[in-house]
């Protein structure tokens, strides 16, 4: 019987080791001299966890962007290779801050971008501000972004810029939709005790004042804890006040609980308009027939009359491309995620000096770009570092086999066409 002690012999080790040591010399010899300078973009997004729905189109959008960037971007006559490094926030603000710091300090990105809710956007923007890295964010109403980061109106931030809409737009489009409905002007409010719920229910900055000004009575039983299993008390209060409309900002499981209990306890409002919970087609599908007729804000849809400044694709082409690539229905964040990189590309092309962070920030501030979500122009925002894209209101209606989000109110942005009429629930 022969015994083999090791596959490594002294000779093979010396030969292999020498080769390994010599490798870098050969590799450095083959390096292309004409290699482009690289500009690195860090991207933070909630790929996993409760917010993952917002990031489900990341792969599709980033693939298209990588393709558009494949030839590099030109700045001052020089071509730059764009490298996008994407990291997962796991839907956790602490983790978002951690990966943002990692991108800034470890990967040394030149620009950092983030999207999807205050829990992702705020920690990333804060890290960028501390480390003085240019930062562009979207997909989070501007009030939680600005005030949630202790922004001072008039001063704003040095390095961080944001585009989306604000609570005033939500309120405006909701009122716009309800005014045509002709139902009792008593509104039941469901606001959770979280960043969004407190902002929406805030007596000064939230829904109460504008609703009162428009002649609506708001029945607000108070902030509830997210993931509650019971809404009987709210339902009883809405029933006794005779609410014809229910509104609020909820997460999908809470809305599902509320909506089933409403039916069980004999509460049938005519209009139900809820922020956040009713954004995604998957949520509406899960509600079955009870999903038909619910309404929500619409930030972007395939019917928005805008085109990508990068690829020239229309909203419809972008949305259809996603459905074709994945077999899933379009979602609203797709447009904003795409627009985020449109702005990045525009900034890279325009910046006076890409090695100077201050020059990049100056280029961001000077942006005036027609994106697939509307015009992004920080010179006309509601507050420092913020600019707004249009917002309309829509209602989920059965269209053939699937539910379709019809745009039913557009006073604030008449260039976005109406695609349906508001139908009452009962």
């Amino acid at each position: 019987m022969t015994k083999k002690t090791s596959i490594w012999t002294r000779r093979s080790f010396v030969a292999g080791g020498t080769a390994a040591l010599a490798t870098p010399a050969i590799l450095s010899g083959t390096r292309a001299y004409a290699q482009n300078a690289v500009i690195k973009i860090g991207h933070v997004s909630p790929r996993t966890g409760p917010l993952a729905g917002f990031a489900e189109a990341d792969d599709y959008v980033l693939d298209a962007i990588a393709q558009a960037f494949s030839a590099g971007l030109e700045n001052n006559g020089k071509t730059y290779t764009v490298e996008i490094i994407s990291k997962d926030s796991q839907s956790n603000p602490n983790r978002a801050a951690e990966v943002a710091a990692d991108l800034i300090l470890g990967d040394e990105v030149d620009i950092i971008v983030a999207a999807s809710t205050p829990d992702t956007v705020n920690p990333v923007a804060d890290q960028a501000e501390i480390n003085e890295v240019p930062c562009i964010t979207t997909d989070c109403p501007w009030q939680p972004y600005f005030f949630g980061r202790n922004g001072v109106p008039g001063e704003g931030f040095q390095n961080t810029y944001h585009f989306f809409w604000g609570l005033e737009d939500v309120i405006g489009s909701f009122l716009d939709m309800w005014d045509g409905a002709g139902v009792a002007k008593t509104v039941g409010g469901l606001f959770p005790n979280d960043a969004d719920g407190n902002a929406w229910g805030d007596a000064e900055l939230g829904l109460p004042k504008p609703l009162a000004a428009a002649g609506y009575d708001l029945v607000d039983p108070g902030r509830y804890q997210p993931l509650s299993d019971d809404f009987s008390n709210q339902i009883a209060a809405f029933k006794s006040a005779g609410c014809g409309i229910v509104t609020g900002n909820m997460i999908p499981p809470d809305f599902a609980t509320f909506w089933a209990q409403s039916a069980q306890q004999g509460f049938a409002p005519k209009v139900v308009t809820i922020g956040k919970a009713l954004l995604f087609p998957s949520v509406i599908e899960a509600l079955g027939e009870r999903g038909d007729g619910l309404s929500s804000e619409v930030w972007w849809s395939p019917n928005h009359p805008f085109n990508s400044s990068l690829t020239g694709a229309s909203s419809k082409e972008l949305a259809d491309g996603y459905t074709a690539a994945t077999g899933r229905p379009w979602t609203q964040p797709i447009g904003f995620k795409h627009a985020l990189f449109e702005v990045v590309a525009d900034v890279i092309k325009r910046a006076e000096d890409l090695d100077d962070r201050a020059a990049i920030v100056a280029a961001i501030a000077a942006t005036n770009l027609d994106t697939i979500t509307g015009t992004v122009d920080w010179s006309n925002g509601p507050i420092n570092n913020v600019t707004k894209t249009p917002l309309v209101a829509g209602q989920w209606q059965r269209d053939g086999d699937a539910m379709d989000l019809k745009i039913v109110a557009n006073s604030s942005a008449p260039n976005i066409p109406l695609t349906g009429e508001l139908k009452l629930l009962s």
């Binding site: 109460p208 029945v219 008390n233 499981p253 599902a256 995604f280």
Partner: protein
């Protein structure tokens, strides 16, 4: 400003009755969450951190069965309960038995790891989309009682909880299997000497516990929408119901669930912000006054 808060005091007493009855019915769901936990803790002193995620797993299995076979979710129980029970037996024999010993930390850590694996596995397979099981008319049907109306589904959930707990209690005290569970619970070594295979008994206990978990998962999945991340929140309610009722006591677990449910709805009646807090406060008070719960069966 015409904003006003919902009437609190001086509102009719019917609202309070409504809050209490709805809370009791909610307690049925919490008791279902807790029964499996109570059972395995009682038999093998195993604290199962993955319990909440196992409930969600059962809900997803139910969803898969109803989608593929077009069954009503309640009929899906016929498939999901045995599937979860089998999974429980294999889990216990394959993994958890290796970790049981004098030290309670290893099984705790292993179930914690299991919880992470389940969450991410479900996310990978089913994505983060909130899902819901469609039970048709059952979801919205209600029974009018005077001026109040109660949902058929919560009433059914409560009835199932009572039936499950009665069945478990009967099994514990009137069957050979129950005797084996009690013997192993009292003294593992002696039970082993008397010819009981402790590993097999533990496997059966976990199988039974996950069978009950399957029912809890399906009832949850009909009541509300779920996604892979909601398990942790349900675990807390399950634990609290077990502790309030007293460790290892099945009827105590039902009482614990009802106390938790009523505390929540009555808390919410005062102010919706108090809903979850009131439940936790009720739990803390009982823990302070009776550290072993209301009806402890196990003396430590």
């Amino acid at each position: 400003m015409k904003t006003f808060r919902a009437p609190i005091s001086g509102s009719n007493s019917l609202d309070w009755v409504n809050a209490i009855v709805q809370g009791t019915l909610l307690g049925g769901l919490y008791a279902l969450f807790a029964a499996g936990l109570s059972l395995i803790f009682g038999v093998m002193r195993l604290v199962n951190i993955a319990h909440g995620d196992l409930i969600v797993l059962a809900a997803y299995l139910g969803l898969t069965v109803t989608t593929i076979l077009g069954l009503h979710p309640l009929l899906a129980l016929l498939l999901v309960v045995p599937a979860m029970a089998l999974f429980g037996y294999i889990l216990q024999r394959g993994i958890l038995n290796q970790t049981l010993g004098k030290d309670i930390l290893p099984p705790l850590l292993v179930t914690f790891g299991l919880s992470v694996i389940l969450q991410n596995g479900l996310l990978e397979i089913y994505s983060a989309d909130p899902q819901k099981m469609n039970a048709g008319a059952l979801e919205t049907a209600s029974i009018p009682v005077g001026e109040l109306s109660f949902g058929v589904l919560p009433v059914l959930t409560f009835a199932i909880a009572v039936a499950v707990i009665a069945a478990l209690q009967w099994m514990f005290y009137h069957t050979a299997l129950g005797r084996a569970f009690r013997a192993t619970s009292d003294n593992q070594e002696t039970a082993q000497l008397m010819g009981l295979n402790r590993r097999h008994i533990f496997g059966l206990a976990m199988a039974l516990a996950l069978g009950v978990t399957a029912i809890a998962g399906i009832m949850l999945g009909i009541r509300t929408s779920f996604d892979p991340s909601i398990g942790g929140g349900r675990l807390v309610f399950g634990f609290e119901a077990v502790i309030i009722g007293g460790l290892g006591n099945m009827w105590g677990t039902l009482v614990g669930g009802v106390i938790l449910g009523v505390a929540q709805t009555v808390g919410a009646k005062i102010d919706p912000g108090w809903q979850l807090l009131a439940g936790h406060i009720a739990f803390l008070i009982i823990l302070a006054v009776r550290p072993n719960g209301l009806f402890p069966r196990i003396s430590e």
